[in-house]
Amino acid sequence: MYDAIVIGARCSGASTAMLLARRGHRVLVVDRSSFPSDVISTHFLWPHGMSYLNRWGLLEQVLAVTPAQTEIDVVNEGIRLTGSVPAELLRAYFRDLHGDDSGVVRTYASIRRSVLDQILVQAAAKAGAEVRTNCTVRGLIVEDGHVVGIRGRTSDGQLIEERARIVVGADGRNSFVARTLGLPKFDERPRCTFAYWSYYSGFSLETAQLHRRGRLACAVVPTNFEQNMVLVWGPSEWSREFRADVPGNYQRALDFVSPELGELVRAQGTREERIYGTLDQAAFLRPLHGPGWVLVGDAESFKDQCTAIGMTHAFRDAELASAALDRWLSGGAPIDETMAWYEGRRRGQDAAAYYDYVCTLAEMRPYRHDELQLFVALRGNQQEIDRFIATHADVAPVSEFFQASNLFLLNDAAKETSAGYPIFEDFAATSRMYQQNPFA
């Protein structure tokens, strides 16, 4: 009999298991893979994601093999905003959500899952959690409507059965726990992006590049093994045509969004792996908890890849859920009370506003005139650029940036005009052109 069984040993699962084990609870964590192991991911950690690793004492291990930067370039229709997430906003984030603001770092990083997940699994084991890899969960044991354990199979075909006071579903977008319990999806947002990416050696960048033009976007981000992740994405309704010629359209999209990055990749880059892709990105929420079970990470709330927030949110869930479970397991409060606390932090107003923000971006509509003018108005206003980046990354609440008096003030403080940017010359015609599928 364990205190907790965690299904899934990646970002949300291994972290939850580690944090619970550190509090002295008996934890079993199972995963169908053996590590190191890769999985579809933008594998990006925003500064609060890195701060979680730091709070848990794992950051050094990651930084020993992973490049990290502080400044990031966000370029929309040629309007470049360069900035970073301010420490003060990071501290406020941790204070508000977790009640303590220790361990804040301002760097971000792109970490291959084959690197990160193994570090997390080892940390869980070191903390005292029992880790079983190559172990596939085949069923949940339910008694009187209460989940009380799991049935599974090891790689050599041996059947296992284990019991615990709580089962944590940390098993991703296509969660087995959710499917087995028949959990509904809420707030479904079927409009999402398709994304294709690969890994290139041969060049290095000072900062991560996020570019957007029309309905397409690309990101070039330094990652492990002296490689760069090169990612392109667009509206999922264009995916079928894109698929007709993946390598050709991948380069075409890159050239369209940023001719400079397209040229850099073509002229200096050497592709090191095949091109990967997905459009399994529609956002949804699931119920967070029920009798004997609780969900964390993508299993409870999946969002499109376009803000690369999934791993950071998985870490957040791990800290919230483990704090809630610890309080209950230690006899501090009834489980209903601690789960309500977890739910309050995951289903409140700020979470809803950010969810809407990501889902709207994921529709990949061409930027509106007012949005582009806002980006121009931000140029030269470093404090507000930084706050915008912090808002985009879900460090600062959407409601504090997108507030009338703030937007008016940004306008008034503008140092640049739209004169230098060709997108404003014939905006209506350009916007119409952007609606055409370039891969058709």
């Binding site: 809420f186 995916s239 095949r274 529609a282 409140g348 809803a352 507030q403």
Partner: protein, 517 residues
């Protein structure tokens, strides 16, 4: 780690698998699955990649694999048809149209208008409803599609129910007879009457400040006093949530504007330290509401005034919502905090409790009064309050200070307490403190717009506020209570509102609650 430049891309492989699955060819499925990337296999944990060979063609396991793979590999939104009008209406915010494109000022408003029409067609446009009769605790209204309804009215600003008060109506009739409907000029010329002076004295008595200036609207008072006093090189510290007239006045007056965290006096102090370390020559105006109109809370004015004095800054407090409707003898938040007569500048509006358009600015300085009369453009260059308006406000001020005023405020707060209690008991979140404004937090705009549509037909009139009145993602219903509301009416309304919110959440299939964090 898998590295395979020669390996085929997953999409191509999945199409082969799908094709084979539809034919029941499990051998091809299994062979192809072996080539699918580790990334995708670990992502799609619900697909039995390793077990394809054992799937029975007759079993529905195979159909499940086809369905799951199609779901992964076809754009999800194609499976769920939506009403494009409703999607458009619910998805956008007014700020999406703040900077329209094009050089023709007439035609470039059309995008915004298209959105307004979509909101109207889907009956989610909360603005521009009209009254069919005097708005009491019950009102009869028509929406902008011409549909009529009747309901418990939390949509009107008449906190002490003066609009139907016989003495108020008699005062209006008297002024009409004595002076006619028109003031016929600026107050700087010949727009004022003898009762204008009486009104200035009555208001001065109410807030304990001797020198009062009248403005034609509350908005004009706020805007006028800020632009009248503050110059380019001066500074303004303004609460983030202060009223629009003050925010816009600040923008018009200077570029040196800091929006401080709502109610945070310590943050004001820090900004003042910062400003005074750089600038000892220019003025600083600190601006706040008394009772905040969509959050129903108020600042610690005692500390705020003290901090202002320490750094030679001037405090301006807008008491539009609280003066007359709450506090000892109707003295509002100033009276509650024992600050009558000791705040630098007080401004207010008559439109919430005093039963009329109009506003005022009060201070202890005759010089300040003369200065803003001259330089606050909205006083000098507007027609004065009409004689009827002046008489109504004067009579309202008299009742507010009388024992009858106390009794009306008692009834008002009985209704407020009933409403807040019933809403809270039902698990909803009322923001702020008990006051004539009861903000019911909703959060998500879509949820609020749909709930608003349902309420229209269920007998409650409530104003939904969203951006730009509230920040993005924190929409709410602003329920404005009147002395004429019976407590049981308020409780009935709370029950109806709860039902509409629950039904809206089900309609949108939303799991988000409304709590702030």
């Amino acid at each position: 780690m898998t590295t395979g430049l020669d390996q085929r891309e997953d999409g191509e492989l999945i199409e082969i698998i799908l094709d084979a699955a539809r034919r029941g060819d499990v051998t091809t499925m299994a062979r192809t699955a072996a080539e699918v990337s580790e990334m995708t296999r670990n992502w799609a944990t619900h697909i039995p990649w390793d077990d394809f060979a054992t799937l029975d063609g007759a079993d529905d396991e195979l159909a499940q694999v086809v369905a799951d793979l199609e779901e992964m590999w076809e754009p999800a939104y194609l499976r769920k048809p939506v009403d494009p009008d409703e999607e458009y209406a619910l998805d956008k915010n007014a700020y999406d149209f703040y900077r329209p494109a094009g050089r023709n000022l007439l035609t470039r408003t059309e995008d915004y208008y298209g959105w307004v029409l979509a909101r109207r067609r889907t009956e989610t446009w909360q603005y521009s409803r009209v009254l069919e009769a005097a708005p009491g605790s019950i009102a009869e209204i028509t929406n902008d599609l011409g549909r009529r309804t009747r309901g418990i009215n939390f949509n009107s600003q008449d906190y002490l129910s003066f609009n139907t008060h016989p003495a108020i109506r008699a005062a209006a009739e008297r002024a009409m007879r004595d002076y006619g409907p028109h003031s016929a000029g600026s107050p700087m010329v010949l727009g004022n009457t003898r009762i204008s002076d009486e009104l200035e004295r009555a208001l001065g008595d109410l807030v304990g400040l001797e020198h009062v200036t009248l403005f034609p609207t509350g908005w004009a008072a706020g805007f006028g006093v800020v632009v009248g006093l503050v110059r380019q090189e001066d500074h303004i510290l303004i609460d983030r949530l202060a009223h629009s007239c003050l925010q816009q006045g600040a923008r018009a007056a200077t570029r040196n504007v800091v929006r401080y965290e709502h109610l945070n006096v310590e943050s004001v102090r820090q900004h003042l330290v910062d400003i005074r370390s750089r600038d000892t020559r220019n003025g600083v105006l600190v601006v706040t509401d008394g009772l905040f109109s969509v959050d129903a809370d108020w600042p610690d004015l005692v500390s705020l005034q003290q901090v202002c004095r320490e750094y030679d800054a001037t405090l301006l407090v807008d008491v539009a919502h609280d003066l007359g409707s709450m506090g000892p003898g109707g003295t509002g938040v100033l009276g509650l905090q024992g600050l009558l007569g000791s705040v630098d500048i007080v401004m207010g509006a008559f439109s919430k409790t005093f039963c009329s358009n109009g506003g005022f600015v009060a201070s202890n300085s005759p010089a300040l009064k003369q200065y803003i009369k001259m330089f606050g453009g909205s006083h000098f260059f507007s027609n004065a309050l009409s004689p009827v308006q002046t008489a109504v406000v004067l009579e309202a001020a008299r009742i507010i200070r009388s024992p009858e005023g106390d009794e009306l405020r008692g009834r008002l707060f009985a209704a407020i307490d009933a409403l807040r209690d019933e809403l809270t008991t039902r698990g909803l979140t009322c923001m702020g403190e008990p006051s004539p404004i009861v903000p019911l937090l909703i959060g998500n705009e879509k949820l609020a717009r749909v709930a608003n549509r349902l309420l229209f037909d269920r007998g409650v009139l409530a104003f939904m506020v969203e951006f730009p009145v509230t920040p993005t993602g924190s929409s709410r219903f602003r329920l404005q209570v009147q002395a004429g509301h019976r407590p049981e009416e308020a409780r009935e309304a709370a029950r109806i509102i709860e039902g509409a919110i629950a039904d809206s959440r089900a309609y949108l299939s939303s799991a988000f609650g409304s709590a702030a964090k």
